[in-house]
Symmetry: C2
Subunit: 251 residues, 2 copies
Amino acid sequence: MATGRTHRPATRSRGIPEATVARLPLYLRALTALSERSVPTVSSEELAAAAGVNSAKLRKDFSYLGSYGTRGVGYDVEYLVYQISRELGLTQDWPVVIVGIGNLGAALANYGGFASRGFRVAALIDADPAMAGKPVAGIPVQHTDDLEKIIKDNGVSIGVIATPAGAAQQVCDRLVGAGVTSILNFAPTVLSVPDGVDVRKVDLSIELQILAFHEQRKAGEETAGEEAVTASVPKNTPKGPDGDVPVVMPA
Amino acid sequence: MATGRTHRPATRSRGIPEATVARLPLYLRALTALSERSVPTVSSEELAAAAGVNSAKLRKDFSYLGSYGTRGVGYDVEYLVYQISRELGLTQDWPVVIVGIGNLGAALANYGGFASRGFRVAALIDADPAMAGKPVAGIPVQHTDDLEKIIKDNGVSIGVIATPAGAAQQVCDRLVGAGVTSILNFAPTVLSVPDGVDVRKVDLSIELQILAFHEQRKAGEETAGEEAVTASVPKNTPKGPDGDVPVVMPA
DNA sequence: CCATCTTTGTGCACGCGTTCACAAAGACAT
DNA sequence: ATGTCTTTGTGAACGCGTGCACAAAGATGG
Ligand SMILES: NC(=O)c1ccc[n+]([C@@H]2O[C@H](COP(=O)([O-])OP(=O)(O)OC[C@H]3O[C@@H](n4cnc5c(N)ncnc54)[C@H](O)[C@@H]3O)[C@@H](O)[C@H]2O)c1
Ligand SMILES: NC(=O)c1ccc[n+]([C@@H]2O[C@H](COP(=O)([O-])OP(=O)(O)OC[C@H]3O[C@@H](n4cnc5c(N)ncnc54)[C@H](O)[C@@H]3O)[C@@H](O)[C@H]2O)c1
């Protein structure tokens, strides 16, 4: 019997829930602010308030990293900053490439918050020959032809896609082919990638649509059902799943 | 305005789970693409593949909207586009203001995908007097002094914050005070808002940190399992130029 | 050294979201 | 009409995430 090795895959071995991972950067930001004010320790209650989460949730999150708190006192700010940074992999340098230097790509390149946490813009890549060599945010834009070489020369494993939607999958494939295993996608497309590659997407349009949904719901509540644009939607009756078929199908 | 009806049982009254709402825009996008190709009907299996989700999940999502499919055939594309659009509130016009016309704000203003789905940039607002009157994306930037008037004159209920983090809460308060009830926040800050106001955040830094976490985990797995759990400086940094991390264990 | 007080760490219950699996519904052919 | 075949709609089981509530740990003061 191997020592300590469980039968479970790595996801369980490291044991940090995805939801917790997503909150760690939030805690880190709050802790960094405290650190800059030279606050030595902080209670779960205070830190939770600053991060906008439940204090029990925060304590449970930290418990996954180990027990770094002191009962009756709280958590040591500096120590926690270090532990979370290490857990997130921010103690090392992450070269990043941005592909598609248009409106958004240029804004990202100019974004100061990038470098603040170990992320370094290693290269800017665009398909437009007219942009080649032109500096954006002090970094010369390089042509897509050299994408593979750029990735390999710089040891890049994280890529940001800010091209039009139509080019995103193709760019993605090339990034992955060159060795990139993490992608942040700003293009409004579903990217398909092989196992082992992580994709996260930032989709402005989706966010707005979600807001619009709730906005409409709020407005609808105030004016109590005034719509009736086309036959009222069948209230999803919990007990009568079928039966009503009045909704007309427009051929 | 909200007349004391701050209670919030509506989430269940309308009955559409939040997770489903978040996927509707995804389905809508895939359906729109099918519609443009004049595809008349689509099965849950096909549509699910296009949207990158499980087909059973998709069917259950649609079941919350009512039963719009035909067994043995699938879903009518045009009809579904309409139903989802209506459910999301996209059949009406949503005037939006963007506050903070810097790198990111300007990119957002120039973003074509904005207008495509009922969202209309009603105004651009910035605190910099030098920007006042200057057109960005064909729209003249207005000064923050007039924020309240702009919101009210245009009937704006959705606001986008793209100011520096330090100004975000203040801007948020003014937006809410003027009647905005949905906010999309790009600044890396936790915004606090009264009940009845929805906030969604887009945080590039957090996304990158989450990717870095998984990236580090992948790298750690490759180099075969032992890894100093506590203390000790991270060692899997072949070319790490950081080399600092002087933080030491307290106590 | 003991009492008290603060705050952590976590057991537990609950609700939401996901997925499987299948009966029923309907299209289509004969 | 009847049978076959496709695909929906959903019951049910399961796992994850959340938050309450509390015992234990440790600091602090006498
Ligand atoms: N601008 C925004 O605020 C915003 C917001 C949300 C999403 N988006 C999305 O981000 C993407 C970029 O938006 P944008 O406004 O910057 O567009 P843009 O047209 O200004 O820029 C796109 C850039 O990508 C380059 N490009 C095109 N094909 C390429 C390829 N195959 N390889 C490399 N580069 C290529 C173009 O040369 C151009 O410079 C789009 O998919 C858009 O939908 C933009
Ligand atoms: N640029 C990016 O790619 C990017 C990415 C992620 C997040 N962000 C965040 O988005 C925000 C904006 O980033 P940016 O790069 O555009 O910054 P920026 O400095 O280029 O622009 C900020 C703009 O906000 C204006 N402003 C400042 N205070 C204001 C106030 N009180 N009211 C109205 N306007 C005000 C400034 O005049 C300026 O025009 C920041 O919080 C940043 O952290 C930016």
